[in-house]
Symmetry: C2
Subunit: 310 residues, 2 copies
């Protein structure tokens, strides 16, 4: 079965059937739902949609590791309660700092080097850091059913994009190898970069200043800025994906919206009200908009490639 079924990690049922029906409709010449290949744009959130986002966003683990690595060069950090909280793994204080605190930590750890230097730092980290629950590389904590979905859509002429709140230069280092999505199809949050000639060599220096936050209302803005046409399929898991789902699906023609619902505490995590990946408004709207809710526990016979298939 696995050999012939492009979505073998998805259980038979209405969720899987809805995906298959949508793709058949938009790819069948003469179908009233047919969409030209160049307009088959599919957008995927990353954290909680393609890979896990618990116990905290993986990029936040990177931030913590970077703070610890950089601390010896920054004795002044001991006077900063937020920085000290990070160094003491005091997630409660860090969380209390809210988005503003997280952005400050991100800029401190993500700026002050060239883009090439940053890519090297990320590459080294992603090749060695391990997830606390699974004790595996973070790039192993990706959802096998979503990998199959990416490949299935591409095999049907779709161009697949990531549209994530995560840092675009953090993701681009590894997404091509892991998801088969090239760097130019990765959209994310970013900080300001500055072009300079240094000793006759052109570099882009990363500055400690937010450029764009690719979340909530930012997602359709970024999709339009980067892709320049409307997607026909959108995949998310939290309220941060609400506007992307609206922008994609409230339209004429056949459209697919899908929410990955984290319902499997045994194989992954079960949550809706987490500080990472809150799912409330988007879940309520799913019913009225016709968005598919993929129930991880019931719709997926395998979550990660390293599991045995049920």
């Amino acid at each position: 079965m696995a050999g012939s079924d492009p979505l073998s990690s998805w259980n038979e049922g209405s969720t899987k059937q809805s995906i298959l029906d949508f793709v058949r409709g938009v790819t069948t010449a003469g179908s009233p739902h047919f969409v030209k290949p160049e307009d088959r744009i599919a957008v995927f959130d990353n954290d909680g949609t393609l890979w896990s986002e618990q116990p905290s966003y993986f990029q936040l683990a990177f931030v913590f590791d970077r703070m610890k690595a950089m601390a010896p060069q920054h004795p002044e950090w001991k006077d900063n309660p937020l920085y000290t909280a990070v160094l003491n793994n005091d997630m409660k204080t860090v969380a209390a700092g809210g988005l503003k605190g997280l952005l400050e930590l991100a800029t401190v750890t993500h700026a002050g080097m060239t883009t090439d230097e940053f890519a090297k730092i990320v590459a080294d980290w992603i090749a060695s850091a391990r997830h606390p629950k699974f004790n595996r590389l973070y790039t192993d904590i990706i959802y096998q059913p979503m990998l199959e979905l990416l490949a299935y859509l591409r095999a049907n002429g779709f161009k697949t994009f990531i549209v994530s709140g995560g840092g675009v230069e953090f993701m681009r280092v590894w997404v091509e190898q892991v998801y088969g999505i090239p760097p130019e199809q990765v959209i994310g949050s970013s900080i300001v970069t500055k072009f300079e000639m240094v000793a006759g060599v052109p570099v882009l220096t990363r500055l400690p200043q937010l450029n764009f936050m690719d979340d909530n209302v930012g997602k359709p803005v970024a999709i339009n800025a980067h892709i320049g046409r409307k997607p026909i399929a959108a995949f998310g898991n939290s309220d941060g994906d609400l506007q992307m789902l609206q922008w994609t699906t409230i339209n004429t023609g056949s459209r697919l919206g899908l929410i990955v619902h984290h319902t499997d505490a045994a194989r992954e995590y079960a949550y809706v009200a987490s500080s990472m990946g809150k799912l409330d408004v988007a879940l309520k709207e799913a019913a009225t908009r016709g968005w598919i809710v993929a129930d991880m526990k019931n719709d997926w016979n395998r979550v990660f490639a390293f599991e045995d298939q049920k």
Copy 2:
């Protein structure tokens, strides 16, 4: 000859040979210059490189036409010297307003509607407005040799991008049909857009505020932000392309930088010091960097498709 030569509008000589040699090198397996297909990224300026930019940027003609169309609804404009200058075709006063004045005119005419509404306005204009010298649609005033170059690179596995100071949403309306470049491979200047639900329908509203200026040092910044890898070939025509040429070519491996030099007053225009498309520093640097200077008069046997071939 035209049937077998992918660059038939280019005269035989060192310019054409340099292009052919570069492409052969990066596409020949086993060559020391070989580049994997996914890394064959080529970036093209638009104004003055793919289409003409004289007697003024074509988007400025669009701005003038929009101001005139909008003027009846804006009696208050008669008290604004810059706006009055536009309405009186007083280019001297407009030019004296410099970049700041042009940006103000651009935001006044490019904002205050949704992205879909703006696209419709551009589509109507580009289908009807005519170039003052050639009395043809602006989309006819594109360089046939550059069209051949785009097609030739794509046939050799390159992905071609536009990286222009022009407005990204102004270009995307027509570039796919004219250049064969899809919207997601068009990078340009932009204004801020805002996501809103209007009567239950999601829209992006264009605000009168500059978001990003894709010129000079902005070009490598935008290339990195959008593409996420370094191009191996860059094509420009003015000092606004200097940093893009540096970013692309100052690197290990085989790289191609090319400057379109406007030397043909009879068939197009001859200029280096125009207020549009000034070419000074980049031309001087071409010699030391090994950038090719394509002399329109001598290297191109045809400039526009509507000409007879010499």
